[in-house]
């Protein structure tokens, strides 16, 4: 992790409203280059909306997003060139094979064909999909689809990888592969932002954690820093998360009695 490097992502005063619902409300967030950042929050907290704005899929009502110094509003192509977005539902074409999927995505990001081919082989082998490379994605299991989408997202070697619930529906082996790959990307200098409801994943993988609720950032930092912020002797991330978001334990009253 290089703390001196320019931040991977700087979000300032980000706002987004859907009808009367304020999904994102003056969000300020900075993610350092080369770190794995976990964005946590209850359902409807504004995590996915915020990240969709970072991926260039939604335009904010107000605020700015800067990706490695490129203002997304002013230089969208430059900013998007270094980002990959992996939603919880894999963006795949059912009738394309895994290899063809990677071919298409490489083309979209302008990766030179020979380089893309070599990179595709490396990624598919890493994710145990090489033997399935010529099978159409419609025949893949949920885990295989998620891995194929991840391989496609990595084909252009993004500096910033954004994943929304990347472990949803994966079995233990596939989840381990994905986690290992993300950590490897971070070791290689990339920045990873992920959302997850599995707090243990954030606890084990993330360098820093941000907790968002009602479209605002409640707290961020390492696990130790969050424990200090939450106070009250909270030792696990789950305790910290529930304490900060104000969700009481259903057994709290019972235990007290």
């Amino acid at each position: 992790m290089t703390s001196e490097a320019a931040p991977a992502l700087v979000i300032s005063g980000l706002r987004k409203q859907f009808g009367t619902k304020q999904a994102v409300n003056d969000l300020d967030l900075t993610v350092r280059a080369g770190e794995l950042y976990a964005l946590l929050g209850p359902n409807g907290a504004g995590k996915t909306t915020s990240l969709r704005m970072v991926a260039g899929l939604l335009k904010p009502d107000a605020g700015t997003i800067s990706i490695f110094g490129a203002d997304l509003g002013r230089e969208p192509a430059r900013a998007k060139q270094v980002v990959s977005w992996v939603p919880d539902e894999p963006m795949l074409y059912d009738k394309l094979t895994a290899l063809e999927q990677l071919d298409f995505v490489a083309g979209l990001w302008g990766v030179e064909s020979k380089q893309a081919r070599a990179r595709a082989e490396q990624l598919l082998r890493w994710l145990d999909l090489w033997d399935n490379r010529n099978q159409r994605c419609e025949s893949f299991s949920r885990g295989m689809k998620q891995k194929a989408a991840l391989a496609a997202a990595l084909i252009h070697e993004p500096q910033l990888l954004i994943l929304d619930e990347p472990l949803t529906g994966l079995d233990a082996a596939a989840a381990r592969q994905v986690k290992d790959l993300l950590q490897a990307r971070v070791r290689d200098g990339a920045t990873v932002i992920l959302t997850t409801h599995i707090l243990e994943v954030a606890e084990r993988l993330a360098d820093r954690i941000g907790i968002i609720q009602g479209g605002r950032l409640l707290a961020q930092g390492t696990l130790d820093e969050l424990q200090d912020t939450a106070g009250g002797g909270r030792t696990t991330l789950e305790d910290v998360f529930l304490g900060l978001t104000g969700v009481p334990s259903p057994l709290a009253g019972v235990e007290a009695a």
Binding site: M53, A55, G56, L57, L58, K59, L72, G73, P76, A77, R78, A79, K80, Q81, V83, S84, W85, P87, M91, L92, Y93, D94, K95, L96, T97, L99, E100, L102, D103, F104, V105, A106, G107, L108, W109, G110, E112, S113, K114, A116, R117, A120, N132, R133, N134, Q135, R136, E138, S139
Partner: protein, 505 residues
């Protein structure tokens, strides 16, 4: 009305509700309004018919019976083609069968309701057209004419039974996935067969056409088609023969019930067996080829692959080319005989079909994008991606149209040039209009692509018509006329130009 949950009527209402909800809100209101008006008109149409019948005595003439038989044969063929396709979709494409069969409702009832829905679907339109005038005629003193709706209902049941047997046969020989495509192809061919046959006089060489006519005359005089013959019963039933109508309806109902009993469980078993078959790993040819360079090439390649790998969709798009067959045969006849008299209307028809085909494919490549977020999150420019998708749509059209254009060029160079230019213009215009005005949809909704987009319908038809006119004038009177009308077509197309989609960034 409260129906007992789980009853056959309750299940039928569920089917009807799904069908009704399949229409968009706007089209629902329009459709119901139009149907109401049409119903009143049809009721009124029964008045002159009833009055006319008061002055007609005796049995229908032999010629009337024969024409009615031919019409009923056409109707029945169309009904069978519809039930064949619908049964394949109802049992192998809809995903709610697992839910229904896992419920405590007896499987036989679920399947009977679904089969009844197939029969109702096939006979609904003809019943709607026949029943109101029959009611009026009956009220005017000819109740025997209620035989017509009874007959149509019976034919619907019979068509459903035949469609189910055919679908089962296809399943046994081709498997679940191909059954869907094959049923689609077969149903379209059945529908188009009558059109092709009706045009036989035009496209058959004159000697063969005369021979066919002689055979038809001999058939007309055959005792098998004399009044009272079983082959004529349906026509008699249509024209007031209540006894024949009841006989046909009863026999059809029995056959339908037997079919549902015999095939119902087999269908359910097949559907269960077929449920996971889509997921069977199928290698794709040429998948390991070299990667593309650049977003344009990658997108063209991706779209062509997706078109190629969706046989059900492609058959829907390409089957309309069946209607070109008589035109092409006529073209070959004209070319072979060294004549060019009918070239101008043929060129117009081919140009019109080119526009339709290009518009359909352009809608598929641009409006049915499966991963729009992927494109939006990429650094590729939206305009470039849109051009690539349009290119991918026009490539197959160009390949198909090259055949007649090449043939005409080889025989009549100037007419061929005019045809080639107008086809190119029609394809490009129709493609651009589909790109600019097409509303996003799913590939499975290809047949509904024009619902709720009247502007697309009107503009596409007008522009296709203009290009067809340009082709006609170009072939008949020279290229100067073609350029004049082509300029108008291009101007109309340009009016509807829309900028590339605005991404968030």
């Amino acid at each position: 009305m409260t129906l007992k949950p789980g009853s056959t009527a309750w299940l039928l209402r569920h089917e009807a509700r799904l069908k009704y909800r399949g229409m968009s809100g706007t089209s629902r209101a329009w459709t119901l309004g139009l149907l109401g008006l049409l119903f009143m008109g049809l009721l009124a149409a029964g008045v002159p018919m009833g009055m006319l019948l008061n002055h007609v005595e005796g049995q229908p003439t032999r010629a009337l019976l024969l024409w009615s038989s031919a019409g009923l044969l056409l109707l029945f063929t169309l009904m069978v083609s519809q039930t064949l396709f619908s049964s394949a979709m109802a049992f192998y494409a809809r995903r709610d069968l697992d839910l229904l069969l896992s419920s405590p409702i007896p499987a036989s009832r679920v399947l009977a309701a679904r089969c009844l829905a197939l029969a109702a679907n096939a006979s609904l339109i003809p019943l709607f057209l026949v029943t109101p005038p029959a009611l009026t005629v009956a009220a005017l003193g000819h109740p025997e004419w209620l035989s017509a709706p009874v007959l149509i209902g019976g034919l619907g049941l019979l068509a459903a039974a035949v469609g189910l047997w055919l679908a089962m046969g296809l399943f046994a020989t081709l498997g679940p996935q191909r059954t869907r495509t094959a049923s689609q192809v077969l149903s379209a061919i059945a529908g188009a067969a009558f059109f092709l046959a009706s045009q036989a006089r035009n496209w058959l060489p004159s000697e063969q056409a005369a021979a066919v006519k002689a055979r038809l005359n001999a058939l007309e005089a055959s005792p098998a088609l004399a009044p009272g013959s079983p082959l004529i019963w349906p026509a008699e039933a249509l024209l007031g023969g209540i006894g024949s109508a009841l006989l046909i309806a009863t026999a059809s109902a029995v056959l339908f019930a037997l079919t549902v009993t015999v095939l119902g469980r087999r269908f359910a078993a097949n559907a269960a067996a077929g449920a996971g078959r889509d997921a069977i790993a199928r290698p794709a040819r040429g998948g390991a080829a070299a990667f593309s360079n650049g977003a344009f090439r990658a997108t063209v390649r991706k779209e062509l692959r997706l078109l190629q790998r969706d046989p059900a969709l492609m058959s829907q798009v390409l089957l309309r080319l069946l209607y070109l067959v008589p035109l092409l045969l006529l073209l070959l006849r004209e070319g072979g005989e060294g004549q060019g008299g009918a070239l101008a209307p043929l060129a117009a028809a081919i140009t019109f079909m080119t526009g339709m085909l290009a518009g359909s494919l352009a809608w598929v490549t641009t409006a049915t994008e499966e991963a729009p977020d992927l494109l939006v999150s990429s650094p590729s420019r939206p305009g470039l991606l849109r051009r690539a998708k349009l290119t991918a749509a026009l490539v197959p059209v160009a390949l198909i149209v090259a055949l007649p254009v090449g043939f005409v060029i080889s025989r009549f160079p100037q007419a061929g040039l005019a045809l080639g230019l107008s086809c190119a213009g029609a394809g490009l215009s129709a493609g651009l209009i589909a790109v600019w005005l097409g509303k996003p949809g799913r590939r499975a909704e290809f047949n509904k692509r024009r619902h709720g987009s009247w502007l697309l319908n009107v503009v596409q038809t007008v522009v296709d018509g203009l290009w067809a006119g340009a082709a006609y004038l170009g072939v008949a009177f020279g290229l100067g006329w073609l350029f004049l009308v082509a300029a108008i077509a291009a101007a109309v197309t340009a009016v509807f130009r829309r900028p590339a989609p605005v991404y968030a960034y």
